[in-house]
Symmetry: C2
């Protein structure tokens, strides 16, 4: 599904992008068996999720969890009606992703030079050069699309809050390279609703043709409030991770993503369509929990359960 | 401080009402020593909190935790610049509270007959008769004020979502008895931002002279989002509990309150004045945690810590 379709969606619909198989699993020390990863992703698709970030095409030395990406991808891309994306740090990763059947590449870099250096050992300018290579080689024929996840937009553990001008500067560079979908990421959970509103307004005003999405972590409890404010100012695409797993391995203090269960509960109960069956999602959470003995899942809805009565 | 003063406050100020010593402690099986309770409340006052719910004047058989209320109250009411309130279930509790120096009584009942019966073994109508007795005997001379906490406004574990008309009906009865401050409580965490907005709008429209406050639980992860939406529609008084402790002992599935640390973090970082020093609050959380070995505190800010840099 292209970003144009998303942008034309009804105001009372949102797209939840499941990033658990990527952002959720990347931090785990234990390797999740390939067959379990495939089962997890197939179960997520069966719940009504229409976009799933399947993993990352990175060096197995950097993140061993994703050493089986080609096998996982080869299986899941046969599923109908779901867009599978993958994180790619460079041209090689993008080539591998496309060769495996991924049609939506998520290229990521940070507006904070310090965090980008820690994360991908490059300056943001070098990252832009990498994006240019991908755009020239892989997306010009329309078979794959490259979107950008912009990290530390709402704060960086090394550099603090970025100036809005700096954020707009990198968005402009990315747009000049042909990107039309950008995810604004609160990598370490520094964001607050007022700042979220200010930054999103500035982005939308300056780049009205770009489809913006958000990626919030619940590190300091504001993930859902930030998502609500983002919705109020027009955002309709939200990253979330099953069980609230996640956190950047190269950003000190990063912790879990907004939990898929919780954000789906919020939107569903507000009458905003997600297309996702919450009861089915909770079955997948139970499966995930069985795969990860000893790992605490931070989803509040998973912990509390749905209201016992059938009012929702 | 009277509700009139709150209502005239600047739009960018909020009042955080600390209910931890009451809602937080009432569920604990271990008795907290009287001196520790007093230390806790004194520390909270020193952080800038200007209204603290000190406990409940209930039967020691019903909630043994509060058997030392008179001793606790006698000590803390000497503190300047803080309003100490206490929950009272009936005339006897209200008499004891006033005799101990409490000037703000919080009388509570539920709009759900089933929950009220479980909680205080009365119908809501019987609860209204109890309120009338308190108003006649204790508040007519102006020395004490009686406010009402209305439970299960956003959902009940037995009866589901109450009709708005039912909520307005009980508010009208309460207002006719002279009450001018009412806290709308999401006792079991069923609420969502759209419903919060609808109910608050209806309350404000029908009772423009009443000061409404909100009391949210984070049972299903929406506590902060609900608080944000309530703020957006004009609410300026928020209950919160240190460490996110809490939950009604007579409502199945109830769990923690919105954490004081998290809501103060949200408002402070949005530039909305709480008057509360967050670093000082976290010292009190550490003290609370030492008092409660083995009890998990759900405050995200306490778990994650403040951003390590000094940007906030």
């Amino acid at each position: 599904m292209s970003s144009t379709v998303y942008a034309s969606m009804n105001q009372d619909k949102v797209v939840i992008v499941e990033v658990g198989p990527r952002d959720g699993l990347q931090n785990l020390s234990a390797f999740i068996e390939t067959t379990h990863k495939i089962s997890l992703i197939r179960m997520l698709a069966a719940c009504g999720l229409r976009e799933i970030q399947a993993g990352a095409f990175v060096s197995p030395r950097a993140i061993p969890q994703f050493r089986d990406m080609k096998t996982v991808t080869a299986d899941i891309v046969t599923l109908p009606d779901v867009v599978f994306s993958a994180l790619v740090p460079n041209l090689q990763g993008a080539r591998d992703a496309v060769a495996s059947g991924i049609t939506k590449l998520i290229y990521f870099f940070s507006v904070s030079a310090s965090h980008n250096m820690n994360n991908v050992r490059q300056t943001p300018e070098q990252s832009l050069q990498g994006l240019e290579l991908i755009q020239k080689e892989l997306t010009s024929d329309g078979l794959a699309e490259c979107c950008v996840a912009l990290a530390t937009v709402f704060g960086c553990p090394f550099e603090g809050f970025p100036a809005v001008d700096k954020i707009l500067h990198y968005i402009e560079k990315v747009v000049l390279l042909g990107v039309r979908e950008i995810t604004l990421c609160d990598t370490v959970g520094f964001g607050n609703p007022r700042q979220v509103e200010d930054i999103i307004y500035a982005c939308q005003k300056n780049f009205p043709d770009v489809s913006f999405a958000v990626h919030f972590h619940n590190t300091r409890g504001l993930g859902m409030a930030n998502a609500l404010r983002a919705y109020e100012v027009g955002i309709r695409r939200f990253d979330a991770a099953l069980g609230g797993l996640g956190g950047c391995p190269f950003a000190p203090g990063a912790s879990g993503n907004v939990a898929t269960e919780d954000i789906v509960f919020m939107f569903n109960s507000m009458g905003i369509q997600t297309g996702i069956v919450l009861e089915a999602i909770l079955d997948v959470t139970r499966y995930l929990h069985e795969l990860l003995p000893g790992v605490a899942l931070s989803s509040a809805v998973y912990q509390a359960g749905l209201p016992k009565t059938s009012f929702l």
